[in-house]
Amino acid sequence: MTETVVSVRELQTTFHTRAGPVRAVDGISYDIAKGRTLGIVGESGCGKSVTSYSVMRLIEPPGEITGGSVLLDGEDLLSLPEERMQDYRGSRVAMIFQEPMTALNPVLTIGYQMDEQIVRHMGLTRRQSRERALEMLELVGIPAPRERYASYPHQLSGGMRQRAMIAMALSCEPDFLIADEPTTALDVTIQGQILELIQKLQERLHMAVQFITHDLGVISEIADDVLVMYAGTACEKAPTHRLMDAPRHPYTVALLQSIPRIGRREPRLPAIGGTVPTLHELPAGCPFQNRCPRVVDRCRAERPAMTAIAEGHELACFNPVEDR
Protein backbone atom coordinates (compact mmCIF):
# COMPACT_ATOMS: atom_id res chain seq x y z
CA MET A 1 0.00 0.00 0.00
CA THR A 2 1.69 3.20 -1.11
CA GLU A 3 0.22 6.50 -0.17
CA THR A 4 1.85 9.37 -2.06
CA VAL A 5 2.79 12.26 0.20
CA VAL A 6 4.86 14.39 -2.14
CA SER A 7 4.48 14.72 -5.84
CA VAL A 8 6.85 17.01 -7.72
CA ARG A 9 6.00 17.69 -11.35
CA GLU A 10 8.19 19.32 -13.99
CA LEU A 11 9.83 21.58 -11.42
CA GLN A 12 11.85 24.36 -12.98
CA THR A 13 13.92 26.96 -11.13
CA THR A 14 15.76 29.77 -12.87
CA PHE A 15 18.45 32.12 -11.62
CA HIS A 16 18.44 35.47 -13.35
CA THR A 17 22.14 36.17 -13.51
CA ARG A 18 24.09 38.90 -15.27
CA ALA A 19 25.06 36.43 -17.97
CA GLY A 20 21.42 35.57 -18.56
CA PRO A 21 18.87 33.15 -17.09
CA VAL A 22 20.27 29.89 -15.69
CA ARG A 23 18.04 26.83 -15.34
CA ALA A 24 19.47 25.32 -12.17
CA VAL A 25 16.57 22.86 -12.04
CA ASP A 26 14.89 21.96 -15.29
CA GLY A 27 11.93 19.62 -15.44
CA ILE A 28 12.42 17.44 -12.38
CA SER A 29 9.56 15.10 -11.39
CA TYR A 30 9.24 12.52 -8.62
CA ASP A 31 6.84 11.05 -6.07
CA ILE A 32 7.59 9.96 -2.55
CA ALA A 33 5.19 7.75 -0.61
CA LYS A 34 4.56 7.67 3.11
CA GLY A 35 7.44 6.04 4.97
CA ARG A 36 9.60 5.82 1.86
CA THR A 37 12.91 7.46 1.01
CA LEU A 38 13.96 8.95 -2.29
CA GLY A 39 17.68 9.46 -2.69
CA ILE A 40 18.86 12.21 -5.02
CA VAL A 41 22.43 11.89 -6.29
CA GLY A 42 24.59 13.84 -8.65
CA GLU A 43 27.83 15.76 -8.78
CA SER A 44 28.33 19.06 -7.03
CA GLY A 45 26.34 21.84 -8.67
CA CYS A 46 23.83 19.59 -10.42
CA GLY A 47 20.92 21.25 -8.61
CA LYS A 48 20.16 18.95 -5.66
CA SER A 49 20.00 21.75 -3.12
CA VAL A 50 18.13 24.10 -5.43
CA THR A 51 15.53 21.35 -5.95
CA SER A 52 15.10 21.04 -2.18
CA TYR A 53 14.88 24.78 -1.57
CA SER A 54 12.35 25.03 -4.39
CA VAL A 55 10.15 22.40 -2.76
CA MET A 56 10.34 24.39 0.51
CA ARG A 57 9.85 27.62 -1.46
CA LEU A 58 13.05 29.02 0.01
CA ILE A 59 14.44 30.28 -3.30
CA GLU A 60 15.39 33.95 -3.12
CA PRO A 61 16.14 36.47 -5.86
CA PRO A 62 17.87 36.33 -8.27
CA GLY A 63 16.38 32.83 -8.22
CA GLU A 64 12.77 32.11 -9.08
CA ILE A 65 10.63 29.01 -9.46
CA THR A 66 9.55 29.29 -13.08
CA GLY A 67 7.42 26.23 -13.53
CA GLY A 68 5.94 22.99 -12.32
CA SER A 69 4.11 22.01 -9.18
CA VAL A 70 4.85 20.56 -5.77
CA LEU A 71 1.89 18.65 -4.41
CA LEU A 72 1.81 17.84 -0.72
CA ASP A 73 -1.16 15.55 -0.08
CA GLY A 74 -2.60 16.86 -3.31
CA GLU A 75 -2.24 20.54 -2.47
CA ASP A 76 0.09 22.61 -4.65
CA LEU A 77 2.61 24.36 -2.40
CA LEU A 78 3.76 26.61 -5.22
CA SER A 79 0.40 28.34 -5.44
CA LEU A 80 -0.09 28.92 -1.71
CA PRO A 81 0.16 32.44 -0.30
CA GLU A 82 3.43 32.96 1.60
CA GLU A 83 1.75 33.06 5.06
CA ARG A 84 0.12 29.71 4.43
CA MET A 85 3.45 28.30 3.28
CA GLN A 86 4.99 29.53 6.55
CA ASP A 87 2.42 27.45 8.42
CA TYR A 88 3.59 24.39 6.52
CA ARG A 89 7.34 24.97 6.78
CA GLY A 90 8.70 23.33 9.87
CA SER A 91 5.42 21.63 10.67
CA ARG A 92 4.48 19.58 7.60
CA VAL A 93 7.68 19.90 5.61
CA ALA A 94 10.98 20.07 7.47
CA MET A 95 14.57 20.28 6.35
CA ILE A 96 17.99 19.44 7.75
CA PHE A 97 21.19 20.81 6.32
CA GLN A 98 24.72 19.81 5.54
CA GLU A 99 26.59 22.05 7.96
CA PRO A 100 25.05 21.88 11.44
CA MET A 101 27.53 24.48 12.68
CA THR A 102 26.45 27.21 10.32
CA ALA A 103 22.82 26.09 10.09
CA LEU A 104 22.21 26.82 13.77
CA ASN A 105 22.16 30.37 15.07
CA PRO A 106 25.34 30.84 17.14
CA VAL A 107 23.89 33.37 19.58
CA LEU A 108 20.75 31.48 20.59
CA THR A 109 20.59 28.37 22.75
CA ILE A 110 19.56 25.03 21.27
CA GLY A 111 16.49 25.16 23.50
CA TYR A 112 15.44 28.59 22.30
CA GLN A 113 15.82 27.59 18.67
CA MET A 114 13.69 24.51 19.23
CA ASP A 115 11.07 26.33 21.26
CA GLU A 116 10.45 29.07 18.74
CA GLN A 117 9.48 26.45 16.18
CA ILE A 118 7.38 24.35 18.55
CA VAL A 119 5.53 27.36 19.95
CA ARG A 120 4.95 28.66 16.43
CA HIS A 121 3.38 25.47 15.08
CA MET A 122 1.98 23.49 17.99
CA GLY A 123 0.40 26.34 19.90
CA LEU A 124 2.03 25.23 23.16
CA THR A 125 3.13 27.41 26.07
CA ARG A 126 6.85 27.88 26.65
CA ARG A 127 6.78 25.37 29.49
CA GLN A 128 5.04 22.70 27.41
CA SER A 129 7.31 23.44 24.50
CA ARG A 130 10.34 22.91 26.74
CA GLU A 131 9.00 19.49 27.68
CA ARG A 132 8.52 18.69 24.02
CA ALA A 133 12.03 19.90 23.13
CA LEU A 134 13.60 17.82 25.91
CA GLU A 135 11.65 14.78 24.74
CA MET A 136 12.98 15.28 21.20
CA LEU A 137 16.58 15.77 22.38
CA GLU A 138 16.25 12.54 24.32
CA LEU A 139 14.77 10.78 21.31
CA VAL A 140 17.69 11.68 19.04
CA GLY A 141 20.09 10.31 21.61
CA ILE A 142 21.61 13.46 23.05
CA PRO A 143 23.00 12.73 26.51
CA ALA A 144 22.03 15.12 29.32
CA PRO A 145 19.25 16.83 27.33
CA ARG A 146 18.55 19.36 30.05
CA GLU A 147 22.08 20.72 29.85
CA ARG A 148 22.14 20.62 26.08
CA TYR A 149 18.85 22.49 25.97
CA ALA A 150 20.62 25.44 27.59
CA SER A 151 23.78 25.07 25.48
CA TYR A 152 24.86 27.21 22.57
CA PRO A 153 25.64 25.43 19.27
CA HIS A 154 29.40 25.95 19.63
CA GLN A 155 29.36 23.98 22.87
CA LEU A 156 28.29 20.81 21.01
CA SER A 157 30.33 18.49 18.83
CA GLY A 158 29.50 18.23 15.12
CA GLY A 159 27.56 15.01 15.55
CA MET A 160 25.61 16.34 18.52
CA ARG A 161 24.78 19.50 16.60
CA GLN A 162 23.39 17.46 13.74
CA ARG A 163 21.34 15.43 16.23
CA ALA A 164 20.00 18.66 17.69
CA MET A 165 19.22 19.87 14.17
CA ILE A 166 17.28 16.64 13.54
CA ALA A 167 15.47 16.96 16.87
CA MET A 168 14.45 20.46 15.87
CA ALA A 169 13.34 19.52 12.36
CA LEU A 170 11.21 16.64 13.62
CA SER A 171 9.80 18.37 16.68
CA CYS A 172 6.50 19.13 14.96
CA GLU A 173 6.22 15.67 13.37
CA PRO A 174 6.41 16.60 9.69
CA ASP A 175 4.97 14.39 6.96
CA PHE A 176 7.92 15.12 4.73
CA LEU A 177 11.60 15.52 5.62
CA ILE A 178 14.25 16.86 3.28
CA ALA A 179 17.77 15.97 4.30
CA ASP A 180 20.36 17.89 2.28
CA GLU A 181 23.64 15.99 2.69
CA PRO A 182 23.17 15.68 6.45
CA THR A 183 26.22 13.47 6.94
CA THR A 184 28.73 14.96 4.52
CA ALA A 185 30.35 17.24 7.07
CA LEU A 186 30.69 14.53 9.72
CA ASP A 187 33.28 11.89 10.65
CA VAL A 188 32.75 8.45 9.14
CA THR A 189 31.68 6.79 12.39
CA ILE A 190 29.28 9.61 13.18
CA GLN A 191 27.86 9.45 9.64
CA GLY A 192 26.62 5.90 10.21
CA GLN A 193 24.98 6.84 13.50
CA ILE A 194 23.16 9.79 11.96
CA LEU A 195 21.91 7.63 9.08
CA GLU A 196 20.57 5.07 11.54
CA LEU A 197 18.93 7.79 13.55
CA ILE A 198 17.15 9.22 10.52
CA GLN A 199 15.93 5.75 9.56
CA LYS A 200 14.72 5.03 13.08
CA LEU A 201 12.79 8.29 13.27
CA GLN A 202 11.37 7.80 9.82
CA GLU A 203 9.87 4.47 10.87
CA ARG A 204 8.47 6.03 13.98
CA LEU A 205 6.91 9.07 12.29
CA HIS A 206 6.10 7.41 8.92
CA MET A 207 7.63 10.32 7.07
CA ALA A 208 8.39 10.59 3.39
CA VAL A 209 12.10 11.43 3.18
CA GLN A 210 14.06 13.09 0.41
CA PHE A 211 17.71 12.30 1.04
CA ILE A 212 20.34 14.20 -0.89
CA THR A 213 23.93 13.09 -1.19
CA HIS A 214 26.68 12.66 -3.69
CA ASP A 215 27.72 9.47 -1.98
CA LEU A 216 26.19 6.42 -3.66
CA GLY A 217 27.28 4.25 -0.75
CA VAL A 218 25.02 6.22 1.55
CA ILE A 219 22.19 6.01 -0.95
CA SER A 220 22.29 2.22 -1.12
CA GLU A 221 21.91 2.12 2.66
CA ILE A 222 19.04 4.49 3.10
CA ALA A 223 17.01 5.00 -0.09
CA ASP A 224 14.14 2.97 -1.54
CA ASP A 225 14.35 4.79 -4.85
CA VAL A 226 17.07 6.89 -6.43
CA LEU A 227 16.92 9.86 -8.74
CA VAL A 228 20.14 10.66 -10.60
CA MET A 229 20.54 14.30 -11.60
CA TYR A 230 22.88 15.92 -14.07
CA ALA A 231 23.10 19.66 -14.77
CA GLY A 232 19.64 20.40 -13.43
CA THR A 233 17.94 17.56 -15.27
CA ALA A 234 16.91 14.02 -14.36
CA CYS A 235 18.87 11.16 -15.96
CA GLU A 236 17.48 8.06 -14.39
CA LYS A 237 15.13 7.08 -11.64
CA ALA A 238 14.70 3.55 -10.30
CA PRO A 239 14.31 1.44 -7.19
CA THR A 240 17.70 1.44 -5.45
CA HIS A 241 18.63 -2.21 -5.99
CA ARG A 242 17.67 -2.01 -9.62
CA LEU A 243 19.68 1.15 -10.21
CA MET A 244 22.69 -0.38 -8.48
CA ASP A 245 22.45 -3.72 -10.28
CA ALA A 246 21.24 -2.69 -13.69
CA PRO A 247 21.90 0.98 -14.41
CA ARG A 248 20.92 2.01 -17.94
CA HIS A 249 21.96 5.65 -18.24
CA PRO A 250 25.63 6.15 -19.24
CA TYR A 251 26.02 8.78 -16.49
CA THR A 252 24.64 6.44 -13.81
CA VAL A 253 27.00 3.74 -14.98
CA ALA A 254 29.96 6.10 -14.75
CA LEU A 255 28.85 7.27 -11.33
CA LEU A 256 28.68 3.68 -10.07
CA GLN A 257 32.09 2.88 -11.51
CA SER A 258 33.61 5.62 -9.40
CA ILE A 259 33.38 3.07 -6.52
CA PRO A 260 31.93 5.29 -3.86
CA ARG A 261 32.20 4.26 -0.26
CA ILE A 262 30.78 5.79 2.88
CA GLY A 263 33.20 8.39 4.06
CA ARG A 264 34.33 9.63 0.70
CA ARG A 265 33.13 13.18 0.42
CA GLU A 266 33.53 13.76 -3.30
CA PRO A 267 32.84 10.94 -5.71
CA ARG A 268 35.74 10.59 -8.09
CA LEU A 269 34.65 9.88 -11.60
CA PRO A 270 37.59 8.30 -13.38
CA ALA A 271 35.23 6.82 -15.91
CA ILE A 272 33.92 10.19 -17.00
CA GLY A 273 36.22 12.46 -18.92
CA GLY A 274 35.73 16.22 -18.91
CA THR A 275 33.84 18.31 -16.41
CA VAL A 276 30.26 19.35 -15.91
CA PRO A 277 29.55 22.14 -18.37
CA THR A 278 28.52 25.37 -16.65
CA LEU A 279 24.80 25.87 -16.91
CA HIS A 280 25.30 28.90 -19.14
CA GLU A 281 26.94 26.90 -21.88
CA LEU A 282 24.71 23.83 -21.83
CA PRO A 283 24.56 22.43 -25.34
CA ALA A 284 21.29 21.88 -27.15
CA GLY A 285 20.22 18.27 -26.86
CA CYS A 286 21.38 15.95 -24.09
CA PRO A 287 23.26 17.84 -21.35
CA PHE A 288 25.67 14.88 -20.93
CA GLN A 289 26.69 14.63 -24.61
CA ASN A 290 30.18 16.14 -24.20
CA ARG A 291 31.24 13.50 -21.70
CA CYS A 292 29.13 10.57 -22.89
CA PRO A 293 30.91 7.54 -24.35
CA ARG A 294 27.70 6.41 -26.10
CA VAL A 295 26.76 9.68 -27.78
CA VAL A 296 24.88 9.41 -31.10
CA ASP A 297 23.80 12.09 -33.59
CA ARG A 298 20.34 12.38 -32.14
CA CYS A 299 21.78 13.36 -28.71
CA ARG A 300 23.08 16.64 -30.16
CA ALA A 301 19.80 17.59 -31.77
CA GLU A 302 17.20 16.65 -29.21
CA ARG A 303 16.94 16.53 -25.45
CA PRO A 304 15.94 13.06 -24.21
CA ALA A 305 12.83 13.03 -21.99
CA MET A 306 12.29 10.78 -18.97
CA THR A 307 10.47 7.68 -20.20
CA ALA A 308 9.29 4.66 -18.24
CA ILE A 309 11.11 1.50 -19.27
CA ALA A 310 9.89 -0.74 -16.48
CA GLU A 311 7.82 -0.57 -13.32
CA GLY A 312 9.26 2.39 -11.37
CA HIS A 313 12.24 2.72 -13.71
CA GLU A 314 12.53 5.86 -15.85
CA LEU A 315 15.32 6.91 -18.15
CA ALA A 316 16.29 9.92 -20.24
CA CYS A 317 18.65 8.59 -22.90
CA PHE A 318 18.62 7.82 -26.63
CA ASN A 319 21.33 5.19 -26.50
CA PRO A 320 21.17 3.55 -23.07
CA VAL A 321 23.54 0.90 -21.79
CA GLU A 322 22.23 -2.61 -22.51
CA ASP A 323 20.14 -4.25 -19.85
CA ARG A 324 22.35 -6.95 -18.37
Partner: protein, 322 residues
Protein backbone atom coordinates in the same frame (compact mmCIF):
# COMPACT_ATOMS: atom_id res chain seq x y z
CA UNK B 1 35.27 37.12 34.31
CA UNK B 2 36.00 39.05 37.53
CA UNK B 3 39.70 38.56 36.86
CA UNK B 4 39.25 40.01 33.42
CA UNK B 5 37.39 43.05 34.73
CA UNK B 6 40.03 43.70 37.40
CA UNK B 7 42.87 43.37 34.93
CA UNK B 8 41.19 45.71 32.48
CA UNK B 9 40.49 48.24 35.23
CA UNK B 10 44.12 48.19 36.37
CA UNK B 11 45.24 48.69 32.78
CA UNK B 12 42.84 51.60 32.42
CA UNK B 13 44.17 53.33 35.53
CA UNK B 14 47.77 53.00 34.35
CA UNK B 15 46.89 54.41 30.94
CA UNK B 16 45.05 57.34 32.52
CA UNK B 17 48.05 58.13 34.75
CA UNK B 18 50.49 58.05 31.84
CA UNK B 19 48.24 60.17 29.65
CA UNK B 20 47.70 62.73 32.39
CA UNK B 21 51.43 63.30 32.74
CA UNK B 22 51.90 63.49 29.00
CA UNK B 23 49.10 65.98 28.74
CA UNK B 24 50.39 68.08 31.62
CA UNK B 25 53.77 68.15 29.96
CA UNK B 26 52.26 69.26 26.64
CA UNK B 27 50.45 72.10 28.33
CA UNK B 28 53.68 73.44 29.84
CA UNK B 29 55.16 73.47 26.34
CA UNK B 30 52.49 75.91 25.19
CA UNK B 31 53.73 79.49 24.91
CA UNK B 32 52.79 81.68 27.84
CA UNK B 33 51.47 80.89 31.30
CA UNK B 34 48.65 82.27 33.45
CA UNK B 35 50.89 85.03 34.79
CA UNK B 36 51.40 86.39 31.26
CA UNK B 37 47.63 86.69 31.04
CA UNK B 38 47.60 88.64 34.29
CA UNK B 39 50.34 90.96 33.04
CA UNK B 40 48.41 91.59 29.87
CA UNK B 41 45.32 92.38 31.91
CA UNK B 42 47.11 94.61 34.41
CA UNK B 43 49.63 97.12 32.96
CA UNK B 44 50.70 98.23 36.46
CA UNK B 45 52.29 94.86 37.22
CA UNK B 46 56.09 94.88 37.39
CA UNK B 47 58.50 92.13 36.44
CA UNK B 48 59.21 91.54 40.13
CA UNK B 49 55.49 91.18 40.82
CA UNK B 50 55.26 88.60 38.07
CA UNK B 51 58.23 86.67 39.44
CA UNK B 52 56.69 86.70 42.92
CA UNK B 53 53.38 85.43 41.56
CA UNK B 54 55.14 82.64 39.67
CA UNK B 55 56.83 81.51 42.87
CA UNK B 56 53.57 81.82 44.78
CA UNK B 57 51.77 79.56 42.30
CA UNK B 58 54.74 77.18 42.04
CA UNK B 59 55.17 77.94 38.35
CA UNK B 60 58.94 78.26 38.70
CA UNK B 61 59.32 74.62 39.71
CA UNK B 62 60.28 71.85 37.25
CA UNK B 63 57.49 70.06 35.39
CA UNK B 64 57.52 66.82 37.35
CA UNK B 65 57.20 68.69 40.68
CA UNK B 66 54.32 70.76 39.35
CA UNK B 67 52.67 67.66 37.99
CA UNK B 68 53.01 65.93 41.34
CA UNK B 69 51.51 68.93 43.13
CA UNK B 70 48.61 68.81 40.74
CA UNK B 71 48.09 65.06 41.21
CA UNK B 72 48.09 65.28 45.01
CA UNK B 73 45.63 68.15 44.79
CA UNK B 74 43.30 66.13 42.54
CA UNK B 75 43.70 63.04 44.71
CA UNK B 76 42.66 65.15 47.68
CA UNK B 77 39.36 65.85 45.95
CA UNK B 78 40.21 69.45 45.05
CA UNK B 79 39.94 70.11 41.33
CA UNK B 80 41.59 73.49 41.65
CA UNK B 81 40.53 77.03 40.86
CA UNK B 82 39.69 78.44 37.45
CA UNK B 83 41.59 81.66 36.90
CA UNK B 84 39.42 82.84 34.02
CA UNK B 85 36.06 82.05 35.58
CA UNK B 86 37.22 82.88 39.09
CA UNK B 87 35.33 79.95 40.63
CA UNK B 88 36.40 76.44 41.67
CA UNK B 89 36.73 74.15 38.65
CA UNK B 90 34.15 71.73 40.04
CA UNK B 91 31.51 74.46 39.79
CA UNK B 92 31.78 75.19 36.06
CA UNK B 93 32.65 71.65 35.14
CA UNK B 94 29.51 70.04 36.56
CA UNK B 95 27.24 72.25 34.49
CA UNK B 96 29.13 71.88 31.22
CA UNK B 97 29.42 68.14 31.72
CA UNK B 98 25.66 67.92 32.10
CA UNK B 99 25.16 70.05 28.99
CA UNK B 100 27.53 67.96 26.92
CA UNK B 101 26.00 64.70 28.12
CA UNK B 102 22.60 66.03 27.10
CA UNK B 103 23.89 67.03 23.68
CA UNK B 104 25.86 63.85 23.03
CA UNK B 105 23.15 61.59 24.48
CA UNK B 106 20.41 63.15 22.38
CA UNK B 107 22.62 62.95 19.30
CA UNK B 108 23.35 59.28 19.96
CA UNK B 109 19.70 58.38 20.43
CA UNK B 110 18.68 60.30 17.32
CA UNK B 111 21.48 58.75 15.26
CA UNK B 112 20.54 55.23 16.28
CA UNK B 113 16.83 55.82 15.70
CA UNK B 114 17.52 57.08 12.20
CA UNK B 115 20.52 54.99 11.21
CA UNK B 116 19.48 51.49 12.26
CA UNK B 117 16.20 51.35 10.32
CA UNK B 118 17.90 53.00 7.33
CA UNK B 119 20.81 50.57 7.44
CA UNK B 120 18.56 47.52 7.76
CA UNK B 121 16.32 48.79 4.98
CA UNK B 122 19.28 49.32 2.66
CA UNK B 123 20.67 45.89 3.54
CA UNK B 124 17.41 44.16 2.67
CA UNK B 125 17.29 45.97 -0.66
CA UNK B 126 20.96 45.60 -1.44
CA UNK B 127 21.77 46.88 -4.91
CA UNK B 128 18.44 48.64 -5.38
CA UNK B 129 17.78 52.34 -5.81
CA UNK B 130 16.87 52.66 -2.13
CA UNK B 131 20.23 51.17 -1.19
CA UNK B 132 21.98 53.57 -3.53
CA UNK B 133 20.40 56.68 -2.03
CA UNK B 134 20.89 55.54 1.56
CA UNK B 135 24.56 54.94 0.78
CA UNK B 136 24.90 58.32 -0.84
CA UNK B 137 23.36 59.96 2.20
CA UNK B 138 25.66 58.01 4.52
CA UNK B 139 28.73 59.00 2.57
CA UNK B 140 27.66 62.62 2.66
CA UNK B 141 27.33 62.34 6.44
CA UNK B 142 30.79 60.86 6.76
CA UNK B 143 32.63 63.16 4.39
CA UNK B 144 31.08 66.59 4.98
CA UNK B 145 32.92 68.45 7.78
CA UNK B 146 30.75 68.96 10.82
CA UNK B 147 31.37 72.72 11.11
CA UNK B 148 30.02 73.07 7.59
CA UNK B 149 26.85 71.18 8.48
CA UNK B 150 26.54 73.37 11.57
CA UNK B 151 26.83 76.55 9.52
CA UNK B 152 24.34 75.33 6.91
CA UNK B 153 21.88 74.42 9.68
CA UNK B 154 22.27 77.85 11.26
CA UNK B 155 21.75 79.58 7.91
CA UNK B 156 18.70 77.48 7.08
CA UNK B 157 16.88 77.25 10.39
CA UNK B 158 18.06 80.29 12.29
CA UNK B 159 18.64 82.91 9.61
CA UNK B 160 16.46 82.28 6.54
CA UNK B 161 13.69 80.44 8.38
CA UNK B 162 14.23 81.64 11.93
CA UNK B 163 12.56 78.83 13.88
CA UNK B 164 15.49 77.88 16.10
CA UNK B 165 18.08 79.95 18.00
CA UNK B 166 21.43 80.22 16.21
CA UNK B 167 23.42 79.46 19.31
CA UNK B 168 23.70 79.53 23.07
CA UNK B 169 22.40 77.13 25.67
CA UNK B 170 19.39 79.03 27.03
CA UNK B 171 17.72 82.36 26.35
CA UNK B 172 18.48 85.18 28.75
CA UNK B 173 15.07 85.66 30.24
CA UNK B 174 14.28 85.42 33.90
CA UNK B 175 10.50 85.43 33.63
CA UNK B 176 10.09 81.87 32.28
CA UNK B 177 7.98 79.23 33.97
CA UNK B 178 9.71 75.84 34.41
CA UNK B 179 7.74 74.50 31.43
CA UNK B 180 8.78 77.37 29.22
CA UNK B 181 12.38 77.04 30.38
CA UNK B 182 12.35 73.37 29.38
CA UNK B 183 11.00 74.15 25.92
CA UNK B 184 13.56 76.94 25.56
CA UNK B 185 16.35 74.53 26.52
CA UNK B 186 15.12 71.94 24.02
CA UNK B 187 14.92 74.54 21.25
CA UNK B 188 18.56 75.42 21.84
CA UNK B 189 19.48 71.75 21.58
CA UNK B 190 17.85 71.05 18.21
CA UNK B 191 20.45 72.45 15.81
CA UNK B 192 23.56 71.27 17.73
CA UNK B 193 22.06 67.77 18.06
CA UNK B 194 21.22 67.64 14.34
CA UNK B 195 24.67 68.78 13.38
CA UNK B 196 26.39 66.36 15.76
CA UNK B 197 24.16 63.47 14.61
CA UNK B 198 24.93 63.89 10.95
CA UNK B 199 28.35 62.27 11.09
CA UNK B 200 27.35 59.41 13.37
CA UNK B 201 24.24 58.66 11.32
CA UNK B 202 26.45 58.22 8.27
CA UNK B 203 28.81 55.93 10.15
CA UNK B 204 26.06 53.90 11.81
CA UNK B 205 24.14 53.45 8.56
CA UNK B 206 27.20 52.04 6.84
CA UNK B 207 27.98 49.66 9.68
CA UNK B 208 24.38 48.57 10.18
CA UNK B 209 24.01 47.86 6.49
CA UNK B 210 27.22 45.85 6.33
CA UNK B 211 26.47 43.93 9.54
CA UNK B 212 22.94 43.16 8.43
CA UNK B 213 23.96 41.99 4.95
CA UNK B 214 26.54 39.77 6.57
CA UNK B 215 24.11 38.34 9.12
CA UNK B 216 21.36 37.71 6.56
CA UNK B 217 23.71 35.78 4.29
CA UNK B 218 24.29 33.12 6.94
CA UNK B 219 22.93 29.58 6.69
CA UNK B 220 21.00 29.92 9.93
CA UNK B 221 18.75 32.47 8.28
CA UNK B 222 17.65 29.78 5.84
CA UNK B 223 17.16 27.40 8.77
CA UNK B 224 14.99 29.97 10.49
CA UNK B 225 12.91 30.34 7.36
CA UNK B 226 12.72 26.56 6.94
CA UNK B 227 11.21 26.42 10.42
CA UNK B 228 8.28 28.50 9.22
CA UNK B 229 9.07 31.55 11.35
CA UNK B 230 7.50 34.81 10.27
CA UNK B 231 9.63 37.16 8.22
CA UNK B 232 9.75 39.70 11.07
CA UNK B 233 11.05 37.07 13.44
CA UNK B 234 13.67 35.88 10.97
CA UNK B 235 14.75 39.47 10.46
CA UNK B 236 14.88 40.58 14.08
CA UNK B 237 15.61 37.52 16.22
CA UNK B 238 17.97 35.84 13.77
CA UNK B 239 19.28 38.57 11.47
CA UNK B 240 19.44 41.71 13.57
CA UNK B 241 20.38 39.88 16.76
CA UNK B 242 23.57 38.75 15.03
CA UNK B 243 24.19 42.08 13.31
CA UNK B 244 24.08 43.58 16.79
CA UNK B 245 27.42 42.03 17.75
CA UNK B 246 29.60 44.21 15.50
CA UNK B 247 27.23 47.16 16.00
CA UNK B 248 27.60 47.19 19.77
CA UNK B 249 31.33 47.76 19.46
CA UNK B 250 30.97 50.53 16.90
CA UNK B 251 28.24 52.34 18.81
CA UNK B 252 30.00 52.14 22.16
CA UNK B 253 33.27 53.35 20.72
CA UNK B 254 31.59 56.12 18.79
CA UNK B 255 30.10 57.38 22.02
CA UNK B 256 33.57 58.61 22.87
CA UNK B 257 34.08 60.26 19.49
CA UNK B 258 30.73 62.00 19.97
CA UNK B 259 32.39 63.79 22.87
CA UNK B 260 35.32 64.97 20.81
CA UNK B 261 33.00 65.85 17.92
CA UNK B 262 31.15 67.99 20.42
CA UNK B 263 34.13 70.35 20.68
CA UNK B 264 33.51 71.70 17.18
CA UNK B 265 29.74 71.67 17.47
CA UNK B 266 29.77 73.40 20.85
CA UNK B 267 32.16 76.05 19.62
CA UNK B 268 30.15 76.83 16.48
CA UNK B 269 26.87 77.00 18.41
CA UNK B 270 28.41 78.74 21.46
CA UNK B 271 26.93 75.88 23.45
CA UNK B 272 28.07 75.76 27.05
CA UNK B 273 29.62 72.27 27.18
CA UNK B 274 32.85 70.53 28.06
CA UNK B 275 34.19 70.73 24.53
CA UNK B 276 33.87 74.49 24.41
CA UNK B 277 35.21 74.72 27.94
CA UNK B 278 38.37 72.83 26.96
CA UNK B 279 38.80 74.95 23.86
CA UNK B 280 38.44 78.23 25.74
CA UNK B 281 40.53 77.25 28.73
CA UNK B 282 43.43 76.12 26.55
CA UNK B 283 43.21 79.40 24.67
CA UNK B 284 43.33 81.32 27.94
CA UNK B 285 45.99 79.21 29.63
CA UNK B 286 43.51 78.06 32.27
CA UNK B 287 45.48 74.92 33.18
CA UNK B 288 43.31 73.59 35.95
CA UNK B 289 40.12 73.60 33.93
CA UNK B 290 41.78 72.23 30.81
CA UNK B 291 43.50 69.39 32.66
CA UNK B 292 40.42 68.21 34.52
CA UNK B 293 38.21 68.42 31.46
CA UNK B 294 40.83 66.60 29.48
CA UNK B 295 41.15 63.86 32.09
CA UNK B 296 37.39 63.37 32.06
CA UNK B 297 37.37 62.98 28.27
CA UNK B 298 40.25 60.51 28.38
CA UNK B 299 38.68 58.45 31.16
CA UNK B 300 35.43 58.46 29.26
CA UNK B 301 37.02 57.12 26.09
CA UNK B 302 38.81 54.39 28.02
CA UNK B 303 35.67 53.53 29.95
CA UNK B 304 33.74 53.18 26.69
CA UNK B 305 36.43 50.87 25.31
CA UNK B 306 36.08 48.78 28.41
CA UNK B 307 32.29 48.79 28.12
CA UNK B 308 32.58 47.76 24.47
CA UNK B 309 34.63 44.71 25.46
CA UNK B 310 32.15 43.69 28.13
CA UNK B 311 29.04 44.22 25.99
CA UNK B 312 30.63 42.36 23.11
CA UNK B 313 31.05 39.36 25.37
CA UNK B 314 27.46 39.62 26.54
CA UNK B 315 26.12 39.76 23.00
CA UNK B 316 28.19 36.87 21.70
CA UNK B 317 28.12 33.66 23.74
CA UNK B 318 31.14 32.35 21.83
CA UNK B 319 33.37 34.91 23.54
CA UNK B 320 34.84 33.86 26.86
CA UNK B 321 37.00 36.02 29.12
CA UNK B 322 40.05 34.24 30.35
Amino acid sequence: MTGFILRRLAQTVVVIALLSFFCYFLMTLMPGDPIDEMIAANPNMTAEDAQRLRELHGLDQPVHKRYWNWVTMIAGGDLGYSRTYRVPVSEILGRSLLNTSLLAGAALVLSLLVAIPLGVWAALRKGSRVDYFVNLFAFAGISVPSFWIAIVLILLFAVYIPIFPAGGTTSIDFGMTPGEALVDRARHLVLPVLSLSFLSIGTFVRYTRAAMIDAMSNDYIRTARAKGLSWDRVLIVHGFRNALIPLITIVTLSFSTLFSGAIITETVFAYDGVGRLVFLSIQRNDFNVAMVAFMISVSWVLLMNFAADLLYGLADPRITYS
